[in-house]
């Protein structure tokens, strides 16, 4: 039975082997939060990249888990030092290497089988920095959106979504929602502003 628990409360518990060292390292509350955000963003990044390369759901999950475990294990090597990178920055650098490693290692492994999955996997280029950055940016954005989404009333989110994401006209949406155009402008500005604040919070 595979039980994956991801999220605000559970992140630390999902790596039983590295739990102690992680907990020890993450005594600082800020670090603990960084780690949780890291997991929330990187798990889908790896999962999506793996799926794009034709991996099955379970394999993609495993790969994501493997990357996270590898990063968690190397937390031991991180030293809090004001002259060096912040924990968050350090994490993303380690993650980048771990991801590229994981995909690279997978190719010869899988080549033994000769199934269609392997064939597809081999056709896919190795992940490069550009793809990683793009996927990372996307997950950061989506993470931020998930965070702020519940800060707003459904109507506000709806006004933002229909105009900014679906590209519908403000007047039309205002009519549908039974609100003034001014209210729609205000709603979508508020959501967008908050989204950006949240992203800055994650990347600062």
């Amino acid at each position: 039975m595979r039980v994956f628990l991801v999220g605000e409360e559970e992140t630390v518990h999902e790596f039983p082997d590295t739990r102690n060292s992680l907990l020890l390292k993450l005594r600082d509350k800020g670090d603990c939060e960084s780690w949780q955000q890291f997991v929330a963003v990187y798990r889908p990044v790896v999962y999506r990249m793996a799926r794009r390369r034709g991996m099955q759901d379970a394999d993609a999950q495993d790969l994501a888990q493997a990357v996270l475990v590898a990063v968690a294990e190397s937390v031991d090597r991180w030293e809090a030092d004001p002259r060096r990178a912040r924990f968050r920055t350090w994490l993303s650098r380690v993650a980048k290497n771990a991801i590229i490693d994981a995909f690279r290692r997978r190719r010869p492994d899988a080549a033994i089988g000769g199934t269609t999955e392997v064939a597809r996997l081999q056709q896919q280029p190795e992940p490069d920095d550009a793809e990683l950055d793009r996927e990372h940016r996307r997950e950061v954005f989506r993470w931020a959106a998930r965070q702020v989404r519940w800060e707003f009333a459904e109507e506000t989110w709806l006004a933002f979504w229909l105009t900014a994401v679906e590209g519908r006209h403000v007047k039309e949406v205002a009519g549908q929602l039974g609100k003034s155009a001014g209210a729609v402008y205000i709603a979508r500005s508020r959501v967008m502003r908050r989204l950006q604040e949240k992203i800055v919070e994650l990347e600062e």
Binding site: F4, E8, A145, V165, A181, I186, L195
Partner: protein, 479 residues
């Protein structure tokens, strides 16, 4: 109150973005934006650059599963009415997540299970019927609704509660084979139970007969007792979560703690209640901590629904329902269904006490009581009505007066019993069958009807006795 149009003002835009406007200023700003395109465009540009807006649209539009609004808006141009409909496309989303399968008979694959069909969907999840090829059995797979799975905390809670629920082994509680995850969505694997939910039974056939109500209530209470013994509170006891297999012979409680665990999470985030709150307890409705006695209140509401065909607390809005749950007493059962005995209404009233202290204190106690009620209804003469359900007299008990009253009532009861026997036999052929479409199996038919008739007569006599009882009390109370 007509506001004067305000002038264009760039500092106002900046102050709005810094959240410095007062409510009144913001109202005026909104009015201004309504007519001024220049300021609207400036607001957009000051909020974020064009590239940022573009990026937001692009990144969020792709795979929007957990971010899409939960509702669509339909407005009627003629009446100007605006209606909002919660999108229930959970099924579509879940099906999109399935892996393709080689078997054209199947909808898709999910972690080793071949999905045969969709059993149902609710606010919290989608239930699929699937075949477990490894063990060659059918299973029901319940997936957390995609829009709820966006919260890591909700997912975690779902999985934790599922593990706890899996530990409850009882014939009246659905077994859980396992908890797994697929495409980021947790799901439960449960036995596939052929049967219908109590909700469907009520919708299709209306109120149930007393004996059926008692049997279902007894089994539900027994299942709850087993879960409570494990420290688990269901939190979402309602007819839709009670499965009936083989008529009322086998009752299974489903959705242990899961649905509400998720609802609670989404409620605290958005202030929106998912699903129907009609069977909630007052402490749940107030958002307070709940213990096992909350389930007992909900069980009372389920019994009520079986008696009357509808939930006890009804209103136009969820909020109205919650208010009623906290404040009002439901309409007496016998007003909707005079066929039911007073003692049974008393049992429901006890469960419906707003103060948990005043309810029965355990599900085991309720299960035991209902079992004795079943026995009483089946054999009214051999099995006395449980003491707890006999009418209690108010005031300070005065020993010799009580003794008198008991003797008097006792005497009447004996007389009543003879009358029942006589009436029961004499009137049997004259009695038209109860307007109940759920005909019991042929063999039991006569028994049940006889019991129903006897029951009704006993009830009527019981009422006369109660009235007499009141009269005698008044007599005693006179100086």
């Amino acid at each position: 109150m007509e506001a004067k149009p305000t002038a264009c003002d760039d500092t106002r835009i900046a102050r709005f973005l810094r959240r410095e406007l007062t409510d009144e200023e913001e109202r005026l700003f909104e009015l201004h934006l309504d007519t001024c395109e220049t300021c609207s465009e400036k607001l957009d540009r000051s909020t974020a650059g064009p590239a940022d807006w573009h990026e937001a649209a692009e990144l969020l539009r792709d795979e929007p599963i957990d971010l899409e609004p939960l509702s669509v808006v339909l407005s009627d141009a003629d009446s100007g009415e605006v209606a909002r409909h919660v999108v229930d496309d959970s099924v579509r989303r879940v099906l999109e997540l399935l892996h393709p399968t080689d078997d054209p008979q199947m909808l898709g694959r999910i972690a080793g299970y071949e999905v045969v069909g969709v059993i149902g969907s609710g606010g919290n999840g989608v239930v699929l019927k699937a075949h477990d090829s490894a063990l060659n059995r059918y299973v029901a797979i319940k997936m957390l609704a995609p829009h709820l799975a966006s919260s890591g905390a909700a997912r975690g809670r779902f999985a934790r509660e599922a593990v706890a629920a899996a530990a409850v082994m009882h014939e009246n509680v659905i077994a859980i084979h396992g908890v797994q995850e697929h495409g980021g969505l947790p799901f439960l694997v449960m036995p596939y139970v052929r049967g219908t939910s109590l909700q469907k039974r009520i919708d299709q056939k209306g109120t149930l007969a007393l004996l059926e109500i008692l049997r279902i209530g007894m089994q539900a209470a027994a299942g709850l007792a087993a879960a409570h013994a494990q420290g688990l509170v269901h939190r979402d006891i309602k007819p839709a979560n009670i499965l009936l297999a083989g008529g009322v012979e086998r009752v299974t409680i489903t959705d242990f703690g899961l649905a509400r665990a998720v609802d609670d999470a989404s409620m605290t985030r958005s202030g929106i209640i998912a699903g129907t709150p009609q069977f909630m307890s007052p402490e749940q409705a107030r958002g307070e901590a709940v213990d096992h006695r909350s389930d007992l209140f909900s069980l009372g509401s389920v019994l009520y629904a079986m008696c009357t065909g509808h939930p006890p607390f009804r209103a136009d809005s969820s909020y109205g329902v919650l208010q009623r749950i906290c404040q009002s007493t439901p309409r007496p059962i016998r007003q909707s269904n005079p066929d039911l005995p007073t003692w049974f209404c008393r049992l429901v009233d006890r469960l419906h006490q707003k103060d948990p202290q005043k309810r029965f204190q355990s599900a085991a106690e309720v299960a035991d009581l209902l079992a004795r009620c079943v026995a009483h209804v089946q054999q009214p003469l051999a099995q006395p009505l449980p003491n707890e359900l006999c009418e209690k007299h108010g005031g300070v008990p005065v020993p010799h007066r009580r003794a008198w009253a008991v003797a008097l009532v006792g005497g009447l009861a004996v007389a009543a019993t003879s009358a029942v026997l006589w009436l029961g036999q004499g009137s049997q052929s004259d009695q038209s069958p109860r307007p109940d479409t759920s005909t019991p199996p042929a063999a039991a038919n006569d028994d049940v009807r006889w019991n129903d008739d006897v029951d009704r007569l006993l009830r009527e006599l019981n009422e006369s006795v109660e009235e007499l009882d009141k009269d005698t009390q008044q007599l005693f109370e006179e100086p």
